[in-house]
Each structure stands twice: as C-alpha cells, then as structure tokens.
C-alpha cells in the first residue's frame, strides 16, 4: 500500500495530494462513489471536478488538488475523500 504527500502546489494557490506510487483510479467508480454521497461532480473524462467544502480535482493517476490555501482545511477535505474512496493515507513524515 502506498501513501499520499500533501503539499502546497507550485503556484501556491492550492494544496495537492500526490500518491506514491501513482494510482490508476477508475474515475467512473470514483464518480459513482462521490455522487452516492450527494457530492456534485463534473466529469471531464481525464479528471473529475468535485464540489466538497472546496472544489477538488481528481486525476486518474490519483493526484488530488484541493482549492484552498489552508493546510488544515486541505487535510480535512482529503481525509473525507480518503474515507469515501478508500485511498491510501497521508505520510506524516515520521
């Protein structure tokens, strides 16, 4: 089982959760799981855009982009997604 790193993205405008190794998400299954939890999702084929507390982009390779500059909020939103989608946990660096 791999793990996720959660960090501020290069432009500094959002947090990204990056899995190691990269995943191969079935975006149709992911979309179904999110919608079953009443989370609105836009399907852009190679990525999904989901409206949680903040807008979130999920790529097929498992990368998750969370549109907030607040690390604690990003961690909380990723934690919710992780539970919903059974994703690996965030590496705490310990």
């Amino acid at each position: 089982m791999g793990y996720y790193s959660l960090r501020l993205c290069a432009g500094g405008g959002a947090f990204e959760a990056v899995p190691a190794p990269r995943l191969n998400l079935d975006l149709r299954r992911v979309k179904g799981a999110l919608e079953a939890s009443h989370i609105p999702v836009v399907d852009a084929r190679v990525m999904l855009i989901a409206q949680l507390e903040r807008e979130v982009t999920l790529s097929r390779d498992g990368r998750v982009l969370i549109k907030t500059k607040d690390g604690a909020e990003a961690a909380s939103i990723f934690g919710r997604l992780r539970e919903l989608l059974d994703l690996p946990s965030v590496d705490s660096g310990n």
């Binding site: 993205c9 290069a10 432009g11 500094g12 405008g13 959002a14 836009v42 399907d43 852009a44 084929r45 190679v46 990525m47 855009i49 807008e55 982009t57 982009l65 549109k67 500059k69």
Partner: protein
C-alpha cells in the same frame, strides 16, 4: 492608431505586451478567458489589477471582456486527444477573441507569446493555433527571453501582481505536444461543433 484586442492571462507576459501596445498609442480592448474550474479566482483578479496599473500609467481605460472558457475545456477534454490539448485550447481562445474584435471593430489581435517559452509557444504550435482565425496577430514579445520580459514587468509595476500565489491550469496534459500539424488538429476538431462552442462562450461574455 488602430484598435486591437489583447488576450490577458494574469501571467507575466501579457501585461508587458499590452504595455508596448498602449505605449505606441493603440486603442486596446482586453479579453480574459476565464478557465475556472481548471484554475481559481486568481488569474481574473490579477488581470483586473494589471489593467488598473496600466490604465493609471497611460491615463486611459482598457475595457475588459471576461469569457467563460472552462466549459470549452471540458468539451475538449471529453472529445479530443489530450496530447494536443494546449493547441486546441488556444484555437478556441483565439476564435473567441476574434469574435470580440468583430464586436469592438478591432483590426488585430495581440498576445504576450514569446517563442519557445512553453509547449504552446513553439512555431508549429503557434501556427496550428492561429490558423483558426483571420485577423493579424501581433506578438510584441516574440523575440524576448524570460529575463527581459520580467525586467520590463518589474519596471512597469505588473510583476508583483503576476507572481502572487495562484493555481496553475489543471487542464494542461502531462506531456503536451510541442510539434503539431494542422491536419491532425483539424481532424480532432471534426468531432466538435466549433461554432456552437464559440457561440456559447461569447454569449456569456461579461464586460468589466
């Protein structure tokens, strides 16, 4: 002097390109292709602030059209080869800008592109992108390198705005094509209702 339409992204280059056009005395109209949800609010905020700085410098108003480009991006992502996504995206930006130019009786388009800086700015990709429009395209920065552009941006007061935190475009593919040919691009567009996409975008333009 004549009237032109400049594409403004919120980045470092486009306000510098606009600066040179205003300095020459051209009457300019700005167009921002709003790429949300593939970006955040920051590009639009930066464009508004860029224009404020340049309007103060030159003492004249530059009208800003904001066009929703996100729905176009979603259509492109669903229906075309991701490898050529940046060129496809640019073709629709140019088409929308040309429509605004028609509305504003402008006779040319302006961009901050400089040769070879990013994937969309190779010669073959520029040709593939701009073959979608008929108006002449002016590129005041075409031979500049990044350091030269940044130096001008610092001097005119737009650099600190451009480099504020923001979200990079999430629609950029992992490996964008750096060399495309027009036949391939036209083949991709055969799957799209181009006029309907541009109509829908331009119809929702907001003037600020």
């Amino acid at each position: 002097m004549s009237r032109g339409v400049v594409l403004m992204s919120g980045g470092i280059d486009s306000p510098v390109a606009l600066y040179y056009m205003l300095r020459q005395g051209h009457d300019m109209v700005a167009v921002h292709m709003d790429n949300r949800p593939f970006t955040d609010d920051s590009p639009l905020e930066k464009v508004v602030d860029h224009l404020r700085v340049l309007e103060t410098t030159f003492g004249r108003k530059v009208p800003l059209y904001v066009l929703p480009h996100g729905p176009t991006q979603i259509t492109l992502m669903r229906n075309t080869d991701r490898h050529v996504g940046c060129v496809m995206c640019r073709r629709f930006m140019w088409r929308s800008a040309e429509r605004i130019a028609e509305r504003e009786l402008a006779s040319f388009l302006v961009t901050g592109e400089a040769l070879g800086q990013v994937a969309s700015q190779t010669l073959s990709n520029m040709r593939s992108a701009t073959a979608s429009v008929h108006l002449p395209i002016v590129r005041p920065l075409i031979g500049f390198d990044k350091q030269e552009i940044e130096a001008v941006a610092r001097g005119i007061g737009t650099y600190s705005i451009s480099t504020r935190p923001g979200l990079c475009c999430q629609a950029v593919p992992d490996k964008p094509a750096t060399r495309t040919n027009l036949v391939q691009i036209l083949h991709e567009e055969d799957r799209l209702d181009v006029d309907q996409i541009v109509d829908a975008c331009v119809r929702r333009a907001v003037v600020m």
